[in-house]
């Protein structure tokens, strides 16, 4: 194990229930030091509980939390060296921005001049120098968010937990803050665990993403891995926009060809442990569909909806009773209109195969 691969965090078999509600269900994952790790999933999937477990705000029912190899499952919050930014920012309303920053330091008996120096450094880094004497409720949402970040960063934590930090900001600010967070991560190199329900945030910021469902991690990997090889229909549906087209299919006797409403399809991926006649779902990303050129094998379809999105256009077509979405460059879609017949071709190497019953990948 090399230095850069040192584990910052390891959760194994964590379960947590609130009354009869199961928040975390045998959750396990580990995060390498210095990684920007994203917990991704819709709301109430257990992301926040996971972060609170790591911070020590909620005790676990079972399982083990390790931080830098040390078991901290029952350790007090203070000893964990973890800092957290809350979705609600949780700024101290009666203290100025300066005091909010200084608050964690005062407890650590840091000298007065040292506190002053670090507060001013942090404020400068987050462009809050002119706001230091203000109270939080007089600041804009973006500024409050930066104060919350600054208060967490000022202690130079080894691990920083971020709980949907951008959810309460407007779209433009979110974009800026995404870049800002990536910059801070590069600058300080601390380990970040970032919870978000937003696909764009997860894919654009995460070096590694854990997709969560029902209090457990479904799949973990780099954004590319999740996009290219989703382990099941859940992950396939969550990653990538517009969502993957799913076509009902039946595996043929040759164990490679599928009967579908669109006709026979032969994906490049090889199926594993399946029987002929098995029901399957073929997943095709909208960007892997194209208008068939001269000499291509093609499927007849009819356009019924055109959504121009600027540089690309999303076309909904109907083929063999199935509704498919495809993404085309804006230029190639300008002449199309609803009702037109359009021949479409599928990139066979990009077809994902899932079991119809379980949703698990068949490859």
């Amino acid at each position: 194990m090399t230095g850069s691969d040192k584990l910052a965090l390891r959760l194994s078999g964590i379960s947590k229930s609130y009354g009869s509600v199961r928040a975390l269900n045998n959750l396990s994952f580990e995060v390498a030091e210095g990684r920007f790790f994203v917990l991704f999933g819709p709301s109430s999937v257990g992301k926040t509980t996971t972060l609170r477990t790591i911070a020590g705000l909620v005790p676990t029912d079972s399982g083990r939390v390790e931080i830098f190899g040390k078991d901290v499952t029952t350790a007090p919050i203070a000893g964990r060296g973890v800092s957290m930014v809350f979705q609600s920012f949780a700024l101290y309303p009666h203290l100025t921005v300066y005091e909010n920053f200084a608050y964690p330091l005062r407890e650590e008996k840091v000298g007065r001049e040292d506190i002053d120096k670090r507060v001013k450094e942090t404020a400068a880094m987050l462009k809050l120098t002119h706001r230091l004497e203000r109270k939080p409720n007089t600041l804009s949402g973006g500024e409050q968010q930066r104060v919350a970040l600054g208060r967490s960063l000022i202690r130079r934590p080894k691990i920083l937990l971020l709980d949907e930090p951008l959810t309460n900001l407007d779209a433009k600010l979110r974009h800026d803050m995404r870049a800002e967070l990536k910059r801070l991560h590069r600058q300080f190199g601390m380990t970040i665990v970032y919870a978000t329900p937003d696909e764009l945030e997860a894919l654009s910021m995460g070096e590694e993403i854990a997709v969560m469902r029902d209090g457990a991690v479904v799949q973990r990997g780099t954004p590319d891995e999740l996009y290219e090889q989703p382990l099941d229909t859940y992950v396939a549906g969550k990653i990538g926009s517009p969502h993957m087209n799913m076509i009902k299919a039946t595996l043929g006797v040759d164990m490679a060809t599928f009967d579908t409403p669109l006709g026979k399809l032969q994906p490049t991926r090889k199926v594993k442990s399946a029987n002929s006649g098995d029901a399957a779902l073929l997943g095709i990303r909208p960007s892997d569909l194209r208008v068939a050129g001269q000499g291509d094998a093609f499927i007849r379809s009819t356009i019924h909806l055109i959504e121009p999105l600027g540089d690309v256009t999303v076309i909904s077509v109907e083929a063999g009773g199935e509704s498919l979405r495809m993404v085309l460059p804006e230029a190639s879609a300008t002449s199309m209109k609803p009702g037109d017949a359009v021949p479409i071709a599928i990139d066979a190497s990009k077809i994902h195969i899932f079991r119809a019953a379980s949703g698990q990948a068949m490859t």
């Binding site: 809350f86 949780a90 309303p93 009666h94 407890e107």
Partner: protein, 353 residues
Amino acid sequence: MTSTTVPAAPPAFTAFSPDNWRLALIAGIVISAVAIAALPSGVAFWITGIMMALVAIAATMNAVRRRYYGGLLVAPAIAVLFVMNIFPLLWSLGLSFFAYQSNQQTIRFVGLNNYIKVLTNDLAAKDNWAALTNTAMFVVFTVAAQMVIGFLLALLFSKQFPLRKYLLILVLTPMMLSVVAAGVFFTYYYDPTFGILSYIMREMTGEQFILMDNKAGAVAGIVFADAWMWSPFVMLLVLAGLVSVPKYLYEAAAIDRVSGWRQFRTITFPYIRGLLMLALLFRTIEAFKIADLVILLTKGGNDTMTISYHLIRIANEQNKTSEGAAISYLMLFMVIVLTNLYLYLANRRTQGN
């Protein structure tokens, strides 16, 4: 508004019309003044009353015809307020400048003499001075006891524990009791022969124990009863403040590794400071007027006389009505000064931070 019904123009001042309230007011004042000056007081009283009713009718008619419905709607409330609050207040203020006793017919204007007498002669008397210092003592002791106990109770009830809801109701009950009931209850409680307190003390020391036989004991008894009744009030206010503190602030503080005491000082206290001041203000004003428990428990004995009790004796038992009015106004003045001092200090602290 549609143009079909334009309100009638106000009548000319001299017009003899039921809605000419200006004329009615002037006529009412003149006739009443003449009646008071010329006729016996019994007759003048009724004439003045009739004149007031006339003015009221004219004003109402005017409001209906001119469509001042807003004014018409608040009029009953204002009338009640005037009859029940403003009039007695002004009447007693006026009375304090006269020499008048409710058991005698004579009344004589004496200017500030009542006030001068109260502030010099009366205050110089040992008993009255004692009543004043006793009141101050009761204010300090009862308010301090209520604030401390109420605050601690609020801290307790801000936590979740079994039976919390039912215990809360139980703790709030004293506040809802009549003071007389509480007073009687504590009379029995402190009773030298069969009171439970005396019984326990006798069992422990083997000697007769009478709580109320010296000043310290009497004051302690009254302060305890008052704190028992009014600590829940402080608790209720502080509890409202405590539950309004967002939980995530404590979590953030825990993550920031801030100690419990500093969490209290920088998070909890700012949220409840306003309500603490409010509780302090209410309880101080109330404590300043303390008389009921003193009457019920000691009847002013063992040097537990207070200003309020003194006032009741002067005004009701000795029938010195106008002198009582003067004392009341002096008390009101003291309370106003005290509360403004509080508010000034509270505001200065808020701005100072």
